[in-house]
C-alpha cells in the first residue's frame, strides 16, 4: 500500500516538475553580448527599474514619483505574433510599431506620411526608384532584467549594433521569402520589382529590386508608378529585423528574453495571455513621425472591453475600449461622460450577395434586399456602439475616398418604396407572382455577437419591407470562412479592415473580379476598368471620379454588396492621460503623456 503511494507520488512530482521546468530564461541567451552599456544621458531617467512592481494594477501607486507609468486594455487575447513579418492582427501591428518603426509613418493628425526611421527620402522622376536616407547610429536595444535598464546590443566583437540599410534589406526579403509565410506579403510584393515572382516561388532573390546602397541608404525600385507606393513601403512587414537574433532563437526570438528592437519602446515583459509591458527606449533618437517617448512604462492588459470597462471604473486602468451598448450609460453618467471618445474606425461592415446563386443572380432582387435595409436604424437603435451608417464601401477617413463627398451624400440606400418596386421587377423577371415562390434564402455568418444582432435586424427588416422570411445560419468562424472560400453563401457577411490606407485596398483588393476575397463572384468589367485606372492615376480629381463610379457600381447600380456601417472605437481615458487616438487601434504610445 505505502509502496504504491510512494511510486505514485514520485510520478506526480515528475509530471509537475516537467510542467514547471522553465527554459533557461536568463539574459545569457541573448546573442553573445558582453558588457552592457547603460543608457546615455537622456531627458528622462531610464525607466522605473523596479522589478518588484510586477503587478500592473499596482504599478502606478508604487512606482517612483519620477516615472510615468500607465496601464490600459489592449484587445481580448494574447497578440498572435509581434514578429513584423509574421504578425496577423491589426492590434498586433500597433505593437510591432513600438519596437520596429518603418521608414515612414502616417500621421494621426494629418494623414500624411512622416519620416520615422528615414531622415528623408527621394523619389526618382519616373516615380519608380525610392531612396531612403536613414537615421544614423540608432542602436539595436534589449531590456536587461538584471540591471532593470534598456541596453544596446553588441555584436561578437563588442561593437554596438546599429540599425542599417542591411537590416531593412533583411526584413523586406524575409517578408517576401515564401518560406516565411508572411500574411502581408501579398501587399508588398506587387510594388517591388521582381518580388511577386520571388514570393510565388518562381523568381530568384537576386532579382528583387531592394538594396543597401551604403550603411544608411536604402533603395527600392517599384515596377510601376502608383500613387501610394510610399505607404506600401511603410506597411507592417516592411521593417528592419535582427538577422542574428532570428538565426539564434528561431521562432522564440520575440520572447522578452530574446527580442532585439530599436523603436521608441522596448519590451520589458510579456506574460502570455495576460499582460505586456513596454519600457521607454532612451536610445531612440526621435524623429518627426516618431518622437521620443514621454511615458516611461506602458502596461497592456489583454482582456475584453467588457472587463476592461469594469477595471476602468474600479480605477485600475488608464484607458480602455468600451462595449458599444454601454455608451448610453456612460453618456448619462456625469463622471464618465467627459472621458468618453468615439473614434471613427477604419473597418467597413458589409454583407455580400452571391451573384451567381438564385435569386441573387437577379440584380433587381439584390437591389430590393439592399434598399430594404434601414442602416440608420440599425446603427442608432440596435448597435448603438459609435458606428456610422455607410453609403460607400471605403470609409470617409481614407484619403481619396469618395465617401463624404457631395456625390455620396446624394446616394440614399434605404428606400422602402424603391425596394418594393425592385422586388416587383425582380419577381416579374423570374416569372413569379409572389415572394413565397422565391428560392429559400439562407444568411450565413460567423459566431460573433455583433454579427448575430446585425443578422437578426436584417431578417426583421426584410420581413417587414419585402415580406420575405430568410433563414439565419450562425456557423463556427473557421468553418464559415472555409465555406466562403469554396463558395460564397447566398447572403454572407463580408466587410473589410484595411491593410493600408487607400481606396485601392478596399475596392480593388476585395471586389476585382479576380480577387480571392470576392466571395460573391461579382463580375463587372466596368468596375474592374475603373479601379485599375484609379490605381495608377495620379491626378486626385480624376481618381476621385473613378472611385465614385466604382463605388456606385458596387453598392448601388449592381448592388453586389450591402454596405451597412463603418465601425467606431468608443473608449474612455483618465483625464490625466494626454493621448492621441488611432482609428485602426494601432495606438501611437510615443505621442502620449501623463499630466498631473
Amino acid at each position: 500500500m505505502y509502496k504504491v503511494l510512494r511510486v505514485l507520488s514520485t510520478l506526480i512530482v515528475i509530471v509537475v516538475l516537467a510542467v514547471a521546468c522553465t527554459p533557461q530564461a536568463a539574459p545569457t541567451t541573448a546573442p553573445a553580448d558582453t558588457s552592457p552599456t547603460t543608457a546615455p544621458a537622456q531627458p528622462a531617467a531610464p525607466t522605473t527599474a523596479a522589478p518588484a512592481a510586477e503587478s500592473p494594477t499596482e504599478a502606478p501607486a508604487e512606482a517612483p514619483a519620477a516615472a510615468k507609468v500607465i496601464s490600459g486594455q489592449m484587445g481580448a487575447n494574447d497578440p498572435r505574433s509581434i514578429d513584423p513579418q509574421r504578425a496577423v492582427d491589426t492590434r498586433d501591428w500597433g505593437l510591432v510599431n513600438q519596437f520596429f518603426p518603418s521608414m515612414a509613418i502616417q500621421s494621426l493628425k494629418t494623414g500624411e506620411l512622416e519620416p520615422a526611421m528615414a531622415k528623408d527620402w527621394k523619389v526618382s522622376d519616373d516615380g519608380l526608384t525610392f531612396t531612403f536616407h536613414m537615421l544614423e547610429q540608432v542602436p539595436w536595444v534589449r531590456y536587461n532584467a538584471d540591471t532593470g535598464a534598456v541596453e544596446e546590443v553588441k555584436d561578437d566583437s563588442g561593437a554596438t549594433r546599429y540599425v542599417t540599410a542591411k537590416d531593412f534589406v533583411f526584413g523586406f526579403m524575409r517578408a517576401l521569402n515564401p518560406e516565411t509565410g508572411s500574411p502581408a506579403a501579398y501587399m508588398l510584393a506587387p510594388y517591388i520589382k521582381g518580388a511577386t515572382e520571388y514570393n510565388a516561388g518562381t523568381g530568384k532573390a537576386e532579382d528583387v529590386a531592394i538594396r543597401a546602397v551604403d550603411d544608411y541608404t536604402f533603395e527600392v525600385i517599384a515596377p510601376e508608378k502608383v500613387g501610394f507606393t510610399l505607404a506600401i513601403y511603410s506597411i507592417i512587414n516592411a521593417k528592419a529585423t535582427p538577422e542574428w537574433d532570428i538565426t539564434a532563437n528561431a521562432d522564440a526570438w520575440t520572447e522578452p528574453e530574446n527580442i532585439n528592437s530599436y523603436g521608441p519602446y522596448a519590451m520589458k515583459g510579456w506574460e502570455h495571455e495576460a499582460t505586456m509591458t513596454l519600457v521607454k527606449n532612451p536610445f531612440w533618437p526621435g524623429n518627426t513621425g516618431i518622437p521620443q517617448a514621454k511615458i516611461d512604462e506602458v502596461n497592456l492588459k489583454f482582456i475584453d472591453e467588457v472587463v476592461g470597462l469594469r477595471d476602468f471604473e474600479a480605477g485600475t486602468l488608464d484607458w480602455t475600449l468600451v462595449p458599444g451598448d454601454q455608451i448610453a450609460r456612460i453618456e448619462s453618467d456625469p463622471n464618465l461622460s467627459p472621458l468618453l471618445k468615439v473614434v471613427p474606425g477604419v473597418c467597413i461592415q458589409a454583407w455580400n450577395f452571391n451573384t451567381t446563386k438564385p435569386p441573387f443572380d437577379n440584380v433587381h432582387i439584390r437591389r430590393a434586399f439592399n434598399y430594404a435595409v434601414d442602416r440608420q436604424s440599425l446603427v442608432d437603435n440596435v448597435l448603438v456602439g459609435g458606428q456610422t451608417a455607410a453609403v460607400f464601401y471605403t470609409p470617409p477617413g481614407v484619403p481619396g475616398a469618395p465617401s463624404g463627398t457631395d456625390a455620396a451624400k446624394q446616394v440614399q440606400l434605404f428606400n422602402a418604396d424603391k425596394a418594393k418596386e425592385e422586388l416587383a421587377l425582380g419577381l416579374a423577371d423570374l416569372g413569379l407572382t409572389s415572394v413565397d415562390q422565391l428560392p429559400k434564402v439562407t444568411v450565413e455568418f460567423g459566431n460573433a455577437a455583433e454579427l448575430n444582432a446585425v443578422a437578426q435586424t436584417l431578417q426583421a427588416m426584410w420581413l417587414e419591407t419585402l415580406g420575405v422570411q430568410v433563414d439565419l445560419a450562425q456557423i463556427d468562424n473557421t468553418v464559415y470562412w472555409s465555406k466562403q472560400e469554396e463558395d460564397g453563401g447566398q447572403i454572407h457577411r463580408g466587410g473589410w479592415c484595411p491593410d493600408y490606407n487607400d481606396p485601392n485596398n478596399y475596392l480593388r483588393d476585395v471586389y476585382r473580379s479576380d480577387s480571392i476575397y470576392n466571395y460573391g463572384k461579382w463580375n463587372n468589367p466596368e468596375f474592374d476598368k475603373a479601379i485599375d485606372e484609379a490605381r495608377v492615376e495620379t491626378d486626385p480629381a480624376k481618381r476621385l471620379a473613378l472611385y465614385t463610379q466604382a463605388e456606385t457600381l458596387l453598392s448601388v447600380t449592381d448592388s453586389a454588396t450591402m454596405v451597412l456601417y463603418y465601425t467606431g472605437r468608443p473608449q474612455v481615458t483618465k483625464p490625466t492621460l494626454q493621448r492621441s487616438y488611432s482609428p485602426a487601434g494601432t495606438e501611437y504610445f510615443w505621442e502620449w503623456d501623463l499630466t498631473e
Partner: protein, 349 residues
C-alpha cells in the same frame, strides 16, 4: 442491500392512512407516488416543473408578442417598475439612459423584443434540453451498462474501457468539435442524403438537434457505470437468483429487480446533471454556437444579457431567475423521486 420490508413501519401510520393503504396489493409505482406526494419540497418542485412545461407548450397563447417581433424604437427599453427594482437603471427623464416603456412587462432586448415573451418561448429550449439530455444519456447509458453488467467477461471489459476513454475527453472541446463538424453541412451544395436530412431537421428544430446529439454523445458514461454497478450487485442477490432459477425471463428480471434498484441513483445523478446540460447549451450560446437566432433560449439570453449586466441587468437577471427556478425545482423533484423510488425505503415513512 435490504430486501423490501413493506410492513415494517405500518404502525406509525395514522388510521386514515391505514385505511387507505393496502400494502400487499400496492404496486411499486403507487407506492412511489404516494411517498412522493408527502414530500412537500418535491411536490412544489414538481408543480414548478409542470408549470414550466405548460409555459413551453402554451407559449404562443400566453406570450403577449411573438418571440422574434422586433421594435427598433423600443430597443433596450424597460418598464418603470424594473427601473425601480434595479437602482442603477436610471430612466431618461431622470437624466439617465433607460427608455421607459410600460408595454413590456419585463423590458425589451437590444432588438426591442419582449423579454417576457422570449422567456416563455425560451422555456421550450431549456425544458427540452433539461429533459432530452438526461433521457438520451440514460438511454445510452442504460443500454451499455446493462449489456456490460449482464454479459460480463470481455464484453464488459471493452464497454467499460470505452466508458473510461470517453471520460478522458474534455467535454467542452468535444462538443465544440462536434458542433463545428455537424453545422458545416449548412447551406452546402452537395451533402449526402443523411447529412442533408439531419441538417434540415436541425434547421427545423432551430439548431437543437445537434445540441442534443452533442450532449448525448458526451454525457452517457456516468449512467452506464451506474447501471452496470447495480446490475452486478443485483445479479448476486438471492431473490434475483431465485427469480432466474424459477425461469423468469431476462426482460422480467430487468424490469422487476434491476430497474427499481438503479432508477433511484440514476434519477439523482441525472437531476444533478441537468444544470450542466443547460449550461452546455448556455455555453454554446455564449460562444455563438447555440440554437439558431432568433430562437430564444434561456442560456442564450443569459449569455447575451451578461454583457449588459451593468446597464440593463433585467436582460440577464430575469432569464437567470427563470433558469434558477427550473433547476431548483428539478433538483427537489429529483431528490423526492429518489427517496420515493428507493427500494430500501419502500413502505417506510
Amino acid at each position: 442491500m435490504n430486501s423490501p420490508t413493506p410492513a415494517a413501519n405500518i404502525t406509525q401510520l395514522t388510521d386514515a392512512e391505514q385505511a387507505l393503504l393496502h400494502p400487499k396489493s400496492r404496486s411499486m409505482t403507487q407506492d412511489a407516488l404516494l411517498r412522493l406526494s408527502r414530500n412537500r419540497a418535491a411536490v412544489l418542485g414538481g408543480i414548478v416543473v409542470i408549470i414550466n412545461i405548460l409555459m413551453a407548450l402554451l407559449a404562443p397563447t400566453l406570450a403577449p408578442r411573438k418571440f422574434d417581433q422586433v421594435s427598433f424604437t423600443n430597443t433596450n427599453s424597460a418598464p418603470e417598475w424594473v427601473t425601480k427594482v434595479f437602482p442603477g437603471m436610471k430612466p431618461r427623464d431622470a437624466g439617465g439612459y433607460v427608455k421607459v416603456n410600460n408595454d413590456y412587462l419585463l423590458g425589451a432586448d437590444k432588438l426591442g423584443r419582449d423579454l417576457f415573451s422570449r422567456i416563455l418561448y425560451g422555456s421550450r429550449i431549456s425544458i427540452s434540453v433539461a429533459i432530452v439530455g438526461p433521457v438520451i444519456s440514460i438511454l445510452i447509458g442504460f443500454l451499455v451498462g446493462l449489456v456490460a453488467g449482464y454479459k460480463g467477461g470481455w464484453v464488459d471489459n471493452i464497454l467499460m474501457r470505452l466508458v473510461d476513454i470517453m471520460y478522458a475527453f474534455p467535454t467542452m472541446l468535444l462538443i465544440i468539435l462536434f458542433m463545428a463538424f455537424f453545422r458545416a453541412g449548412v447551406g452546402g451544395d452537395n451533402p449526402g442524403p443523411l447529412v442533408a436530412f439531419l441538417t434540415k431537421l436541425d434547421a427545423n428544430m432551430g439548431g437543437l438537434l445537434f445540441i442534443f446529439v452533442g450532449i448525448g454523445l458526451t454525457a452517457w458514461m456516468g449512467a452506464a457505470r451506474l447501471v452496470r454497478g447495480q446490475v452486478l450487485v443485483a445479479r448476486e442477490l438471492e431473490y434475483v437468483n431465485a427469480a432466474r432459477m424459477i425461469g423468469a425471463k431476462p426482460g422480467r428480471i430487468i424490469l422487476r429487480h434491476i430497474l427499481p434498484n438503479v432508477i433511484g441513483p440514476l434519477i439523482i445523478t441525472e437531476t444533478m446533471a441537468i444544470p450542466s446540460y443547460i449550461s452546455y447549451e448556455a455555453f454554446l450560446s455564449f460562444i455563438g454556437l447555440g440554437v439558431n437566432p432568433p430562437t430564444p433560449s434561456w442560456g442564450g439570453m443569459i449569455a447575451e444579457g451578461a454583457l449588459l449586466i451593468q446597464n440593463y441587468p433585467n436582460q440577464a437577471i430575469f432569464p437567470a431567475l427563470a433558469l434558477f427556478l427550473l433547476i431548483f425545482s428539478f433538483n427537489f423533484l429529483g431528490d423526492g423521486l429518489r427517496d420515493a423510488l428507493d427500494p430500501t425505503l419502500r413502505g417506510s415513512e
